[in-house]
Every structure is written in C-alpha cells, then in structure tokens.
C-alpha cells in the first residue's frame, strides 16, 4: 500500500539507540496477581480522588474505591477482589520520591468481580452516555501524562474538532508497550478510535500516527482499518516525535499556540492504549484496572511486555522477571529520555507507567560530572521546540526568571534531547524543571503578596474610616441639634409643615459612594491582576484565570452600575426644598469639620468638655420640648416622635451629669478612651511594644539553641512563671480599671496555672530519669 499522505518534519530531534527489540521477543503475558496492591488516589493530572471505602471493607474486582473529585480527576477502581487493609501515606511513583495517600488492598486471589455493565449495542449510545461510560471507567491518558480522558473528549462548544489523532508513535527508546498492543489488539484500537470519533462529532480527519520502526504494528493496524475512514500514517523515526505537539506538527503541519491546548486549533490527541481502554470501557463496562507495561533492561533475566494490575508493587514485577539488584545502575519508571528514577522498589505501578527500566551500569552508565558549557549549540540543534537551551541554562543558573520567561522557558516540553546531546554532560532539563518550579512559586508568592497588600490597605482604610465615622457621628448629632434649631426658627417663620431636612441621607450617599468607589478600584485592580499573566499561563491556569477575569469583570460592572445609579440618584434628587442643598454641602466635608471640632475638643479639659456638652444638652432639651409642645398644639403626627426624642435627651443629660460628678471630685484629667489626643501616644506605645517583642523573641531564640531537655523544661517553667506573673499583674490592673476583658484575663491566668503545674511535673519526671 503506497502512502500518499504528506507528513511534515519537526525541527531538531535526536536518534538515541532504540533498544526495542529485546522486549518484543516474548509475547504479551498477563502477570500474576500480587498479594498486596497499592493504589494511589492521584494517578492522573488534577485533583486526587475521594476515598469511598473503609479500612477492613471487602471489595470485589471493579468496585469503585475512590471517586473523581471534580471534573479534573478520575475514579480509582479495585483491580481485583480483596480487603482494604489500610488507607495510608505511601511512597508513590513521582520524581520527588515523596509519599501520597494510597489505598492498600490485600488481594484474596479469588479475583471475583462485580457484574459489569456491558453494552453490546454501544454503537447506538448517544454522546452523553458514551462520555459517562468513559468517565465511569476512570480512564486517564495512558501515554505518560495521565490527563483525565473524559475531559479531553468533551471540548468546549466553541472549539469544533476537525482532526482526531491517535498517538502510536512511542518514540522513547526501550518502550514497546504500545507496539505490542497495536500488534495484538488492533481491532480494539480501531473500535475505540471510532468511539472517540463519534464523541468528538466525527472530525474530518481521523489518523493514527506510527513511527516507521514498527512495521508489524503498521501492517496490523492498516489491515484492521481497511474498511474505515481511519488513516494509518507512518513517518520517520526520530525522538521526540511522539510528543503531542510534535506529532500534531508532523501529521498536520500546524502548531499548537503557546500556552493553549490542541483543542484550540481543532485537534484532539489520544494515546493508542487510552483508545483501547475507551473501547473496553464502553463495550464491556470495564474500568481501567490493568495496563500493558514494558519490563526491560539488562539487569533482568526476562525482558518482555506484561499486562499487569494497577497498584502492583514494582518489587513484585521485578521478582517475576529475575531482577539482579547488584547489576542495576538504577531503576527508571518510563523511558530513558523522560522517565524518572525510583527511590525504592516498593512503589506501585500506576495508570501512567508504560515502562519499567532496569538497566545495568554498562547499559546506562551513571552521568559524568558536568563540565562548563562551551556554547557549541548542539542543544539548539536538537531542540524540537526551537528554543535556545544554552541561553536558558545560563539564565537558569543565574536564576534570572524574567529572562527565562522571555526566552519561552514554558514552551520547553522537557523531552531531554538537549541533555542527551550535550557534550559537557550538563543536566539541562533539570535546570529547566527547577526554573519552572521557581517561576511558578514566584507567581504564587507574587499573587499572595498582592492580595496581602490589598488586605492590609483595606484594613488601614477601614480603621481610619471607623475613627472618622465615630467623629462624624458625634458631629452629626451636634449639627442635627443646630439644624433642628434653625429649622424650627424657619418653620416658625414660614409656618409651613416643612419636612425635617434629610441631613443624614446625603451623608449616607457620600459613604456609599466612597464604598462603591473602593469596590470599583479593587475590582479593576483584580481584573488587571488577572489579565496580566494570561500570556504564559498553562492551560489549566488559563481556565482558572479566565473565570477569575470574568468574575472580576462582572463585579466591576456591577459596582460601576451601582455607582452610576447612585450618581444619578443624587443628581436627580436635589432641590425639592432649598434646605437640602446647604445641608449636603456641609455634609460634603464632614471629616475636616470633624477634625476641627475634635481639635477644639482636645483643647478643652474633660471636665470642661462634659460641662459644655451638658449645657448644650440642656439647650437641646429645651428646644426639643418646645418643638414637641408646638407639634402637639398643631396636632402633628410627629409629636410622638419628638416626645420620644425629649425623653432620650433627658436620659443623656442624666448620664452626662453623673459622669461630670464622678470626674469633678477626683479632678484628674484622665482621658476618656475616645479622646483623640490619646491615639498618638497609644500608637507610639504599640510601636515600642512591637520592638520590645522583637527583642524578646530574639533573645529567646538565642537562649534556646544550646540546651538540654531538662534545661529546656526548666526554662519553660521559668518563662511560664514569668508569664503567670505578668498575667496576674494584668488581671489586677484590669480589675482596678474594671476592664471589660477581665474575664478573659482570669481565664488566662487559670490556664497558665494549669500549664505551669503540668510542666513542673514533667520537669520532675525528667529529673528523676536523670
């Protein structure tokens, strides 16, 4: 069959020794069930699944153990029957060698399954049903990245898909899992491809891409695809043509724009293994509980492809293949170009494990020490993304994050071609990975610090506002009294039933406007923030970002609308009565007025102040009584309200009088807590306290450094005693001042006493032991 389909070339690329023959000699074999399976909750990109089972619970094969947590997640099923032994932190296959939550399943060897939900007539199912079946099977990309498949198969409505690419490239050396799958299960792949094609709305082109070093697989697939519209395309072998972006370039000549997903240019790419799993999920209702993995390397007696249950410990797999630990230089999960070395053999095999590589020292020698970069440019020749690796290395070394981003670090696919060719043996990829991590961290930090700044500024503003409002309220009261007086006079003159001027209303408006303006400013700010990093963000971040932008936009618009409405209201409102205007003008500048009043007040002694306020109260009372009487005479409906005001004023007068009485005998000018004059000194005091605290903390840290346990305890006792004393002093002071916090202090002292006793006991024990 001649091939007339045009393929494109990718820039760069390397030709490492393929080493694919040794694992293809033996046929595909199912591996025995291990006595214990370790199932990480996060075998995919996205959120870890949520556990549904309990420790000790009996489960059947295919039972759901943990369900997807949100859209970007995937189910985890029981690969066989057994008992949930534990749900613990366990080492997982991850470059960090760290632990993550895993379900430990003790298998019973029965392999009894719960009945599967088969669908022989799957061809008649609609898209939603098909997608639900894919999602229910917990399928994540089997090629290595582990992207939840259902997400990829559900592109947004505004992104019509015109090309479906099935990736059978398998460009990494050593790995033959996809090759053997294509040779053995071509029908499943073709059927799966048809399902995917239906899910994506029958894209115009459906193509399976395979490197030309797999002639058997190509022939089998061509045979299976004979009566379909699926093209099987082979192209020259070159690493990394199996990378999603590279394969798209090879087969379509198009490039995925930076920071976007293939769907944005109408392409969806799926691995052949995933495709077969999709078929089995749809046709037989089979969850993803096993996969084909290449077990290869000279440190093994048997090298072959096995079909193995997910969660099987690597140790078990290696034992089945005669692993010679002494000969092995390392243990790699994945291929030699992009795989990561494993910290130990207890880690489980997961959905993304396409290869376990156990090479000898001769096969993959330990890396030689890095020499200086001679800028030979071989890395730039090898880079499939047309980056300048040596420049990136230079900037990564000096941690020049801005320059790294300017040189498109985030377009690096970490294929390792540059490190492979580097004559100076520089671990370039590790530099890029580290730099990427640092940039991400930097972005997070930046975002957090921006948020912190806003919070801090709002807090300051709020406190200032509170102060001002308190002041303004006091003023407003005074003013209201004056106004009332004035109005009364006017009323008398005009004899109209004039309404009382809505003095508080404009003030309210003013406040509201300020608040709205603040909201608008904040919304604008966050919108700007959200828009900024959009360019370089990854897909996932983009989605989030866009949502945020939209949210910020909506908020902004709402706030602006409100502001506009308010503006309209205030401008529409004026001059039903002429009185409103001056009142508003006065309210326009309440703060400065307040400050003036406050200054005047400060000048007075508290006693004077009280006296004057008493006087003014008396005056107000007289006025109010007058007014009330008048109202009664006119039989106004306001009379009741006015009378109530009178009684309130009377109350206030009484309380002020009492205060004055209290103050007069002592004649101490103790400032009232609200007195603005104290705020300065108290501020100074806080600053002093802060610096004291800093000093104390430093001293404490210095002292703590070299001390035995007993000493530490003794110290603790000392400090507790000191604290207790301090607390007691505070308490007594509070009692003297009749502080509102007195209960709190009491409770504190009690707690400290208890703690002190406990620490003393501990110390005694320590001493005994010594």
């Amino acid at each position: 069959m001649t091939q007339l389909i045009k393929v494109w070339d990718i820039p760069g690329g390397v030709h490492p020794p393929e080493n694919k023959a040794q694992s293809l000699i033996e046929p595909l074999t199912p591996l025995a069930i291990a006595p214990q399976l370790i199932l990480p909750l996060n075998q995919h990109i996205g959120a870890p699944a949520k556990v549904l089972v309990e420790v000790g619970q009996q489960v059947l094969g295919g039972e759901l153990l943990a369900e997807a947590d949100g859209v970007f997640s995937a189910h985890v099923h029981a690969p066989t029957s057994g008992t949930v032994a534990a749900i613990v932190e366990h080492v997982v296959p991850h470059p960090s060698g760290m632990t993550d939550t895993c379900i430990i399943l003790d298998t019973d060897g029965q392999d009894s399954w719960q009945p599967l939900d088969e669908a022989p007539d799957y061809q008649n199912l609609d898209k939603a049903a098909l997608l639900a079946r894919v999602r229910a099977a917990g399928i994540a990309g089997l090629g290595g990245a582990g992207f939840p498949t259902a997400v990829k198969l559900n592109p947004r409505a505004n992104q019509p898909i015109d090309t479906l690419i099935i990736n059978g490239t398998e460009c990494e050396p050593y790995i033959t899992a996809d090759d053997i799958l294509m040779q053995n299960r071509a029908d499943e792949i073709i059927a799966g491809t048809q399902i995917l094609s239906k899910l994506l709305g029958e894209p115009g082109r459906v193509v399976i891409g395979i490197e030309d070093n797999k002639p058997d697989a190509i022939a089998t697939l061509r045979e299976a695809a004979k009566d379909t519209r699926i093209e099987v395309v082979s192209f020259p072998t070159k690493y990394p043509s199996g990378g999603e972006k590279q394969l798209i370039q090879i087969l379509t000549g198009r490039e995925v724009p930076a920071g976007q997903i293939p769907a944005s240019i109408g392409i969806v790419c799926q691995n052949v293994g995933t495709t077969a799993a999709v078929y089995r999920a749809v046709r037989f209702g089979e969850p993803l509980v096993k996969r084909i993995t290449t077990v290869v390397g000279e440190a093994l007696d048997t090298q072959r492809n096995v079909e193995v249950l997910l969660g099987t410990p690597i140790r078990f797999v290696l034992e089945q293949h005669g692993f010679n630990e002494k000969k092995a230089s390392r243990l790699v999960m994945g291929g030699p170009m992009m795989g990561f070395s494993l910290p130990d053999t207890s880690v489980p095999l997961v959905k993304t494990t396409n290869c376990i590589l156990a090479p000898t020292r001769k096969e993959l020698p330990p890396p030689s020490p890095a020499q200086a970069c001679i800028r030979c440019g071989m890395c730039a020749e090898a880079c499939p993304a047309d980056l300048l690796p040596q420049q990136l290395f230079w900037y990564a070394q000096s941690e020049d994050l801005e320059k790294l981003e300017a040189h498109n670090l985030f377009d690096c696919i970490e294929c390792g071609a540059c490190s492979f060719v580097c004559p100076s043996h520089i671990p370039l990829v590790q530099y890029y990975r580290a730099a990427k991590g640092e940039i991400r961290q930097h972005r997070i930090d930046k975002e957090k610090s921006d948020r912190s700044r806003r919070r801090f500024e709002f807090r300051k503003e709020r406190i200032a506002k509170e102060e001002a409002e308190k002041e303004a309220k006091r003023l407003a009261r005074k003013k209201a009294a004056e106004e009332a007086k004035k109005k009364l006079a006017e009323q008398k003159a005009a004899t109209g039933d004039a309404k009382t001027a809505p003095a508080p209303a404009p003030a309210d408006d003013e406040k509201q406007r300020a608040k709205l303006e603040r909201i608008v400013a904040a919304a604008e700010d966050s919108l700007k923030q959200a828009q900024k990093p959009l360019e370089d963000a990854t897909d996932e971040q983009r989605e989030k970002q866009q949502a945020r932008i939209k949210q910020a936009d909506v908020k902004l618009k709402a706030a602006q609308d409100k502001l506009a409405a308010l503006g309209a209201a205030t401008s529409a409102e004026p001059a039903p009565t002429d009185k409103a205007a001056p009142a508003k003008a006065a309210a326009d500048d309440p703060v400065s007025a307040a400050i003036e009043r406050a200054k005047a007040k400060v000048a007075m002694s508290p006693e004077d102040k009280l006296r004057s306020s008493l006087e003014s109260l008396y005056k107000r009372l007289a006025k109010a009584e007058d007014k009330a009487r008048e109202a009664r005479e006119q039989d106004s409906d306001k009379a009741d309200a006015l009378e109530q005001g009178v009684s309130k004023l009377k109350e206030k007068i009484a309380s002020t009088q009492k205060e004055l009485d209290e103050l007069t005998p002592s004649n101490v000018a103790e400032p009232t807590p609200r007195d603005p004059s104290t705020s300065d000194t108290s501020g100074g005091a806080t600053a002093d306290a802060a610096s004291n605290a800093i000093e104390k903390a430093k001293a404490r840290a210095a002292a703590m450094s070299t001390m035995s346990a007993a000493d530490k305890l003794r110290n603790q006792v000392d400090s507790l005693e000191a604290r207790l004393e301090k607390s007691r002093a505070r308490l007594s002071k509070a009692e003297a001042e009749n502080d509102e916090n007195i209960d709190a202090f009491k409770a504190g002292v009690e707690k400290l006493e208890v703690k002190l006793a406990a620490t003393r006991e501990q110390l005694a024990q320590q001493n005994e032991q010594a």
Binding site: H94, P95, S96, M98, T99, D100, P369, A370, Q371, A372, W394, Y395, A396, Q397, S398, E399, D400, P427, Q430, R433, A434, A435, K436, G437, E438, R440, Q441, K448, S449, D450, R451, S452, R453, R455, F456, E457, F458, R459, K460, A687, A689, A690, S691, A693, I694, K696, A697, K698, R723, S727, R730, N741, D743, A744, F745, A747, G748, K751, L752, K755
Partner: protein, 211 residues
C-alpha cells in the same frame, strides 16, 4: 538690525539670554504639567518587590512605609521575610550593590511559616485579632479564634499580644503537589566563578550558604 546689535552688544546679549530663558522656562513648565507623574512610581515599584508580610521587622509599620524609606535612602537589607531574593531584586531596581541581610532585623527563615492558634487554650480575648495586620484571624470576644491560613503572612505579630501564649508559628506544610525540582547541585566549577554579570545572583547564593 545687525547694526543695532553690533552697537549694543551687552544689551542685545542680555535680551537674547532673557529670551532664551523665557522660552526654556515655558518649555520646562509645559513639560512639568504635561508629563506629570502621579504618585511616586519608585515607592510603588519598591513596594511591589517587598513581601507584604507587614511584619514591621524592618522597623517601619508595614511594607509601604519601608518602601517609602528605601526611596528616601534607607538601607535595603532590613527585610528578613523577603530575604536575599528581595534584597537582590531591590538592588537590581535601584542599581546598587546587593548587601547581605542585616541580622539586626532578624534572620531569613528557611521555610515559610503561618500562625496556628491552639484552640483549646484560646480564651477569646481578641488581642491577636487587633494585632493582625492582615485581618487573617477570625473570632469574637470570648469565642475561640482561628487563623485563615491562606491569608496569614507569617509575620508573628499576633504571638506577643496573646495573654496565654497559645499561638505558634508553624512551618507551612509542603507536600508532593507543590514539590518541584531543585537546581542541580553546583559542581565545583560553578562554585566560585570569577564574577560575571549573569552569574552574580548565583555566586552570591553559594557563598551565602557557605558562610
């Protein structure tokens, strides 16, 4: 025309100078109005580089005041939470040599911390709430308080006011999900380079660790 100029050299020179002065004065005046810069961009720029913990370890009540102080010529090495990274960025911005952190103001902590209130010991006095510059502590009088971890900057200003000392600064947990690769261990040839521009930050970091 020329004759008049030739006859009164001093007068004509004076007139010419005054004329020039007026023209340039007008130009400068126009430029000052036309290209007026709102606020102080330098202070804003410095402020964005500071870590915004508002911890006051620099001796100023918050990051913005310290930014103002730096713009007025204060030392740039008084910010322990920002550490050497911030100092380097500030040095870059201001185009000065990056000093090391001033130990007087505290030490750069290796891991970020957040405040944690031992809730069974909390007596609900609200003192920490008042001390928190971030409004990151939640609670009411006589109710136990708790820290909003995401908003806490780890400034530890809440630790001292607590009458029962129930607030600890605990390191932020770092798990597998926020792990990232480290730079490869610097092999000996990268350890003490003869300074080149690009290598500056790197070499400084190395020597800093050695010290």
């Amino acid at each position: 025309m020329f004759e008049t100029i030739a006859q009164h050299p001093i007068a004509s020179a004076l007139i010419a100078l005054i004329g020039l002065a007026l023209v340039f004065g007008a130009l400068l005046g126009y430029a000052a109005v036309r290209f007026k810069v709102e606020g102080d961009p330098l202070v804003e720029q410095i402020d964005t580089l500071l870590p915004q913990t508002q911890c006051g370890q620099c001796g100023y009540p918050g990051c913005k005041p310290y930014a103002q102080a730096i713009a007025n010529g204060d030392a740039i090495n008084k910010c322990p939470p920002g550490g050497q990274t911030t100092i380097n960025e500030l040095a870059d911005l201001l185009d000065v040599e990056a000093p090391t952190l001033d130990e007087e103001h505290g030490e750069e902590s290796e891991v970020p911390t957040v405040a944690f209130i031992r809730e069974d010991e909390c007596i609900g006095c609200t003192k920490c709430i008042q001390a928190c510059p971030m409004d990151a502590i939640l609670g009411a009088a006589k109710q136990m308080h708790t820290v909003i971890v995401d908003e806490c900057t780890g400034c530890d200003l809440c630790v001292e006011p607590c009458p029962v000392d129930c607030i600890d600064m605990i390191p932020v947990a770092s798990g597998i999900r926020d792990w990232s690769w480290e730079l490869p261990a610097a092999s000996h040839e990268q350890a003490d380079l003869i300074a080149t521009d690009t290598g500056r930050g790197h070499t400084q970091r190395k020597t800093g660790e050695a010290a």
